[in-house]
Symmetry: C2
Subunit: 109 residues, 2 copies
DNA sequence: ACTGGTAGATAGTAACACTGAATAGCGGTC
DNA sequence: GACCGCTATTCAGTGTTACTATCTACCAGT
């Protein structure tokens, strides 16, 4: 995908995953697959799990272990109020950044 | 400004500075000041210089030393073709990311 | 001399995504 | 029943990045 995207994902991957969880609860493997479908073709397996561990440590999600028919038990993550607030803050920062970049993009081309 | 913005800037600050240089040539102190005016209230002094050094090492900019009336000589940075191409790639990645997040934002609120 | 504003450089730190590998359960095939 | 492929999670190590804090340096006005 290119190095630019890799660096750009720092700080936005968290928001991306939170946004996915805001739509509905999900587990790691599922989230990774969904990101891949949406065009983030080479997001590493392990990367998403690291994000989820951080969310759990920060108390942004509730975790539930659910047995799977096909493989080891899944850890299903659900956004809690703290996570929703964190996501709101993310959107605020994101909109600000978008607005500033938009301004420069118009002026500079 | 909040930790979210700090992490979000990793990968976008480069594009931000490149976009500023695309409008017109500038030197470090000037770029920092302009960013501050545009609402990036606490971007550290040194941070921009580090970005500019990276640009120079990657060959994205041309550098010219210009004596200043008020202080030590300025290093004026000008975007070269390689830098312009790098900036184009940045915009491509950015637009992609924006599109995906927009999709999630609509579906998840 | 001293202060304040301008201008740049640098060593050390923390956070984050990636790489690569390991572990583990289940279904199907040979 | 041994192997393979798919599902699912975990973890140690690496590179990149922005921040912090500090230092050097030049000039103007007091």
């Amino acid at each position: 995908m290119g190095k630019q995207m890799t660096e750009m994902l720092k700080g936005t991957l968290e928001g991306l995953v939170l946004a996915i969880l805001a739509v509905r609860s999900a587990y790691g493997y599922e989230i990774t697959a969904r990101l891949r479908e949406q065009g983030f073709s080479d997001i590493a397996e392990g990367t998403v799990y690291a994000v989820l561990v951080r969310f759990e440590q920060k108390g942004l999600v509730d975790v539930e272990k659910v047995p799977s028919e096909k493989g080891p038990p899944r850890k299903v993550y659900t956004l809690n109020p703290a996570g929703q607030q964190y996501l709101d803050e993310f959107w605020t920062s994101w909109r600000f950044l978008t607005a500033q970049l938009e301004k420069l993009h118009e002026g500079g081309s």
